[in-house]
Amino acid sequence: MKIGIYFCKCGGNVSGKLDVAGVRQRVAQEGVYFKDMDFPCSEAGQESIVQDIKAEKPDRVVVAGCSPREHENTFRGVLERAGMNPYLLQLVNIREHVAWVLSDPRQATEKAALYIRAAIERVKLQEPLQKTTLDVNLRTLVLGSGPAGLKAALTLAEAGREVVLVEKRPTIGGWPVLFDEVFPSLECGPCVLEPLMGEVLQGPHAEKIELLTLSQVTEVLGYYGNFKVKIHKLPRYVDTRTCIGCGMCLAGCPASGPDPLSFGLGERKAIALAFVGSLPNVPFIDPAACLRLNGRQECALCQASCPIEGAINFNDGAQDLEREVGAIVAATGGALYDCARLPNLGLGRVRNVVHSLQFERLASPNGPTGGKLLTAEGHPPKRVAIIHCVGSLDSGHRPYCSAVCCASAFKFNRLIQEQTPGTEITHYWKGLCVPGKRGHTLYEEALHDPRTRLVHYTDISQLDVANAAGGVAVRCSAGNGSAGVPPAQAKAGGTPALPVLGGAPAPQKPEAALFDLVVLCPALVPGPDTAQLARLLEAGTDRTGFFEERHGLVQSSKAKVRGVYLSGTCRAPMNIQEAATEGEAAAGNVLAALVAGRKLEIEPVVASVDAERCSGCMCCVPVCPYKAIRREPEKGKAEINAVLCSGCGTCVASCPIGAIRGAHFTNAQIMAELKGVLA
């Protein structure tokens, strides 16, 4: 076997620190040639090695220079251009790890030679490896149609990609379409969302988007580039193709049931539109409420009032659909922290205590009160308490800050003062968080409002919400509860310093006050289906329960498993702008990963199982964080999917009988190098 060594002198960086001729002498052996040069990484240097390899025709190449982290790919390219397999190369880092750290040239010379001799032993065992390719499906499945899902679907459709958009509810738009106004711009929620929703349904690229409402994924097979997904679609009982959305059917319906979109505050007819202006503009029948579907009565009043024959179909049934896609975007959204775990706050027990989503619905013109802020008794509230950090920043509940609740709370302040000017509002806060370039505006407005006051508490257990004569009593037993920044200070002129997380407010006596309405602002938590979906996608959740990112900072829109992308509040608590941007980011990642006319390249530095040796113990399966290993059902042996494998080699080390081979880092190769460095 002929081995060529190309030794980089690096313009004195290396040659000034050791004896190049001495290295040459120490590595000399049968079948090995040694060429030293300056800057082989330069264009001219690379070209001269290409020519030299063509002339010398070595079987293996060692480049002794700088870090493989810097130039391994450079010299792999050199080998390729010289007609060699790029994996027949070993780099030796004699600059960073020898020349630059040893001051004694004699030591540096010896050590450089030692590393090169070890590399010679290793490279002899290296094998030509081939990148393999795979055809991919360009269609994308988007799960969820809130701001993140809508933007992901629209961005992909705009690029000409087919999208299957799956939504659990009968309508699209997520939460914000249910809001009166959104922070910080105070635009109306539907005004922000409807253009996107309209584009999905009728826009210039709408034909690329297959919208499946009332649908959920039940099974995900396959992997990156070629998923096969099963979707369960519940019956709507109204034909979306023929219904004209006139709403005639609603009037006659004699039955009603709870309206999930008013979060327990209102009811809806058994046949209903989710709300005025909801899209798709096609009613649906709630089978739990409908008299006929419950077999209680031969009622057909809706059908009788419908001007389109056959649009309402009581025999509509659930469907199980199958779709093939190359990538999956999870945008299934979040939920509010369950306030039942904070019984002292009275939700569900004390009249006129609502959570933030219920308040949004009270304030929204498409909500149960038509947008009138009313107490359960039907009066506009004159005294409102808003409790921040419900379950947030609390190791007993949720340790994190959701970073949207304070901004919402100060938006509520504005909405209340707009509707019923003069309302006394008290914010009970633990930590204040109004990030972003416009996040402070509503906060400052509240601070300057003479009728708004801020009371600090340090632990949610210090608050007690109870029925009382004349309203709802909120007691704050805080030892150091206090006005964080008294409005008086704001009025005195100038902008006061923001009360900050961990700030030390001045001590104040315990206090109690009466209110007409108490609004809880709970932490954002993962949506109820997140864990189940994570299992189906094998994508993984982190300790907060949200989807876990491939890297939390620089690969946050990728899931741990390849081909699955994350966006919006199923990944982390965030606001509308962030969710929409994440939807676009996920779409961008899909477009970069799956390109028309380009096959998927599979890196060859991956693990593989020798089925003959594998005993089927499956010790390897749980150590793989990428779900790349599975039990092959027929023979019961482990099988590694090269598309999903990242080449870390942990499974290789975990196999008790050495049946897994880590390409380019085989046991034999590592042992040869080990032997070499200890020779």
Binding site: H97, V101, E110, G647, T650, L678, A679
Partner: protein, 163 residues
Amino acid sequence: MSTGLKAPQATAAGAPAPSSVGGADDAAVFEPKIVAFLCNWCAYAGADKAGAAQVPFPPNVREIRVMCSGRVDPQFVLSAFEQGADGVLILGCHPGDCHYKEQNYRAIQRFRIVLALLEQFGIPAERCRFDYVSAAEGERFAKLITETTAAIRALGPLRAPAQ
């Protein structure tokens, strides 16, 4: 997995390794041979930073680059001792920093097995160390190598356990 260990050869006379890069053939000052398994993403990058910043560290270390500390098979460690290493280091990403999510935790779990194995072979646990170096910690890498070299030097050459 190796089934048995030959006598360590750290003190073998006439070993080809020159004394200046370790090896115990210099009776005056014992120069230990230390094998360091470095993960590509953190520890090896940290070593690169030590080099780039020209922070010196002793020549006694012999680095083996693996993609992840999770790749370090216990047999590599045993084999290193078998072939004359006086000490072995396994350096990976800090907890929570692993490029492969959590494989450094697997490496730690496996390291405990390694220590148990070493004990059975009569090799003191202090000759094998697991530690963390981030991609930014050049100084830390150099310090770890310097400290480990001094510690192993103080322990003296690894000799075959009494038969």
